[in-house]
C-alpha cells in the first residue's frame, strides 16, 4: 500500500486558477478548489460544464493553459508518473478490454501500476464479482462492468480517487454497492473527487459539493450549509376538514412562523406534518439559472 508522505495540512488535491480551452471555446475558466485526504468533494454540473476537462487535467491527460494543479503536494503534469502511481481513476465510459476476463483486466493494470504480487480475488470480492472473475468482460452486464471499473480504480490502493459518474445508469443495488466502496475509500484516507448527476448521491456521499457551470465554479460548500444558506425551508401540514383535506405550507424563514405552525397543528383532524428543504438541484438552479440535465 502506498501512503502519502504529506502532512494533513496539505490538501491531497489543490487546484488554483486553472484554465483550458478547446480552440476558441473556454472549457474551464479560473477554476480553484481543494480536496483534503479522507474527504469526498462532489463536482456537480450539467454536461459540458467542464467537469470532465477538469478531471482530464487532474489525470495529466490535458495540460492547463494557466494555473497550478498539485496532487499530494506534487505538481501535475511535472511529476505526472509519480502522481499517477498514487491515483485511481474511474472513467465515465466503460473503457475495459472486452476480450479479456475480469482477472486479466485487473492483472494487466496492476502490472502497469507496478503492483507486486497482485491478487485480484479480494478486490473482485469487494465489488461482488468474485464468481465472474474468469468470465470475459464482453459477457458482463453494464452494472458489472461499472463495478469492475471501480475495482480497477482501486488496484494501487490510491491516495486520490477521481470518479467520473461512477453510478451512472446502474441499478439501485449496484449503485448502493459502489457508494459503499466510495465511502470506505474515503474512510481509509483517500481524497475523492466525484462527478455525478445524481443529487441524492452527491447529497449523501459528499462532504462538500462544488457547483460548476460554463467552465466556472459557482460555489463550494457542504450540502447542509448550502441548503441552509440558499434553500427555502418549509413545513407542509395536512388536516382533515369534513370530507376534504386542507394543506398549509408554512415557510420557516419568515416572521411569525412558530405561531402559524402552532395554530395549524392545534386544530382537530391533523393528518400529516412534513418538513421540506430545498434539494441541491434547486440550489444549483438558483445559482446557474438552469438545471443539471443537458
Amino acid at each position: 500500500m502506498t501512503t502519502s508522505s504529506n502532512s494533513a495540512a496539505v490538501p491531497a488535491i489543490d487546484v488554483a486558477g486553472v484554465r483550458f480551452s478547446y480552440g476558441d471555446i473556454r472549457a474551464v475558466d479560473d477554476v480553484s478548489f481543494s480536496v483534503a485526504s479522507g474527504e469526498i468533494l462532489g463536482f456537480l454540473g450539467p454536461n459540458g460544464a467542464g467537469k470532465s476537462t477538469t478531471i482530464k487535467m487532474l489525470t495529466g491527460q490535458l495540460k492547463p493553459e494557466a494555473g497550478d494543479i498539485k496532487i499530494l503536494g506534487m505538481n501535475m503534469p511535472g511529476r505526472r508518473e509519480e502522481i499517477q502511481a498514487r491515483l485511481g481513476v474511474c472513467f465515465e465510459e466503460k473503457n475495459l478490454y472486452l476480450s479479456m476476463t475480469g482477472r486479466e483486466n485487473l492483472v494487466f493494470f496492476a502490472k502497469l501500476f507496478g503492483v507486486r504480487d497482485f491478487e485480484p480475488e479480494p478486490l473482485m470480492e469487494r465489488v461482488g464479482l468474485s464468481t465472474r472473475l474468469d468470465d470475459r468482460v464482453s459477457e458482463y452486464s453494464k452494472g458489472m462492468k461499472q463495478r469492475l471499473m471501480m475495482a480497477r480504480a482501486l488496484i494501487n490502493t490510491p491516495d486520490v480517487l477521481l470518479l467520473d459518474e461512477p453510478t451512472d445508469g446502474l441499478d439501485p443495488v449496484s449503485a448502493i454497492a459502489i457508494r459503499g466502496l466510495i465511502r470506505h475509500e474515503a474512510e481509509r484516507g483517500a481524497a475523492v473527487l466525484l462527478t455525478t448527476h445524481d443529487m441524492h448521491e452527491a447529497d449523501t456521499l459528499s462532504d462538500r459539493v462544488a457547483f460548476i457551470n460554463q467552465g466556472s465554479i459557482l460555489t463550494i460548500d457542504t450540502p447542509d450549509d448550502l441548503k441552509l444558506e440558499y434553500g427555502r425551508r418549509s413545513v407542509r401540514i395536512r388536516t382533515r376538514q369534513g370530507d376534504g383535506v386542507d394543506e398549509q405550507v408554512i415557510a420557516l424563514d419568515e416572521a411569525g412562523t412558530e405561531d402559524r405552525i402552532r395554530d395549524a397543528v392545534s386544530v382537530e383532524g391533523l393528518m400529516t406534518i412534513h418538513t421540506e428543504e430545498a434539494t441541491l438541484e434547486d440550489i444549483f438552479v438558483e445559482f446557474a439559472g438552469r438545471g443539471l440535465a443537458g
Binding site: T59, G60, Q61, E81, E82, Q84, A85, L87, V89, F91, E93, N95, L96, Y97, L98, S99, M100, E104, F108, F109, K111, L112, F113, G114, R152
Partner: protein, 360 residues
Amino acid sequence: MTASRIRAIILKDLREFSRNRFFMFITLLVLVCYVAVFWFLPDSVDETVKIGVSNTILSTTVGGVTESGTAGFALEIYSSEEDLRTAIEEGRDDIVAGIAIPPDFFESVAAGKTPTVLLLTPASLPPEIQLLLDGAVTEIAFGIAGIAPPVDPITEAVVLGTDRAGNQISLQQQMRPLILIMVLMVETFALSSLIAIEVQQRTAVAVLATPVRIVDFLAAKGIFGIGLAFSEVVLLGLLIGAFAVNAPAILVILLLGAVLVTGFGMIAGSYGRDFMGTLLVSMLFMIPLMIPAFGALFPGSAPMWVKALPTYGLVQAIIRVTADGESWSQIAPSLLLLAAWGVAAFAVGAFILRRRVATL
C-alpha cells in the same frame, strides 16, 4: 520499470490478437493459401522453342543449322508429314509448330526450283511466334540449300530494365515479393484494427492514466506491430524458400518491411472509426503499396511514380537477392531506400497515433 510496462502492453495486445477469430482466421488462411499458390507455380522458365520436323533424312542437317545459328530451338523428328500434323493437332511432345520439308527438297533445289516448306502451327500460336518461325524456316531452308541469306542482319536489342535473356525469373520468384508484401499488409490491418479498438473504446485513456508514458505506449504498439508482421513474414518466407540465398539480407529486408507497414498500421488505426472504417483506411494504403510487387510480375523498367512508392525498395531488394543472388553492397541502394521509407512511415505513424490518443 518502463520495460516491464511495455512488455505488459505487448502481451496484452498479443492476447487480444489471439482471441480475435477474424485475425486468426485471416492469418492462417493467408499462410496456407499463399504457400499453396507459391508451390503450385512453375519454378523455372523454358526459353527453348520446340519444333517438329517431318523429314528424317534432312533432320540432321536442320539440327545442325539450329544448333549453330538459331539458338533456342529444339527439334522433334517425325517420320512423315502426317505424323507431324497429328502431333500438332493432339498437342503432343510440347511442340509449338512443325516444319514439313518435302522428301524431294534437295532435288528441287538442285534443279533450280523453289521447293515448298510447310510451316504447321496451331491456331492458338501467338502471331509474334509465328513471325519468328517464318523467319527461322527461311533461314533453315537457306542453310540446307547452302545459299547464304540475302542479308546478314546484326541486331542489337535495347532492353528496358534488367536483361533477362538466358536468365529468366520464374513465376515463383516473381510472385515471392508479392506474397511476402501481401502478408505484411494483412498484419498491417490486424495492427490497425487493434489500435482502432483501443482508440474507439478509449482503453488507451485508461492505460495512460497509469504511470505508463505515451512513449511507452507507442513503443509497445510499435514493437508489437513489427514483431507480429516480422514473425509471420519470416514464417511464410521459410515456407516458400525465401532464405535459400543470403538469408541475413532477406531477414534485414523483411524487418525493414515490417517497420514500414507498422507505420502505416498506426496511421490507419488512428483514423479508423470502426471495423469497416479501419478496413477502408487500410485498403487506401495497401493498394498503392502493392503496386511495386505487381510490377515485378511484368518485365521492363518501372515508371518513376512506381519507384517513388514506399515498397519499391522492398520489392527490388527481395528480387535482387532471391532471383539474382546480389550481394549486400549491390542491394545497398534498395536497402537504404527501404530503410528511409520505413523510418519515415514509423515516425509519421507514431506522431499521428500520439496526437489521436492525446485528444481522446
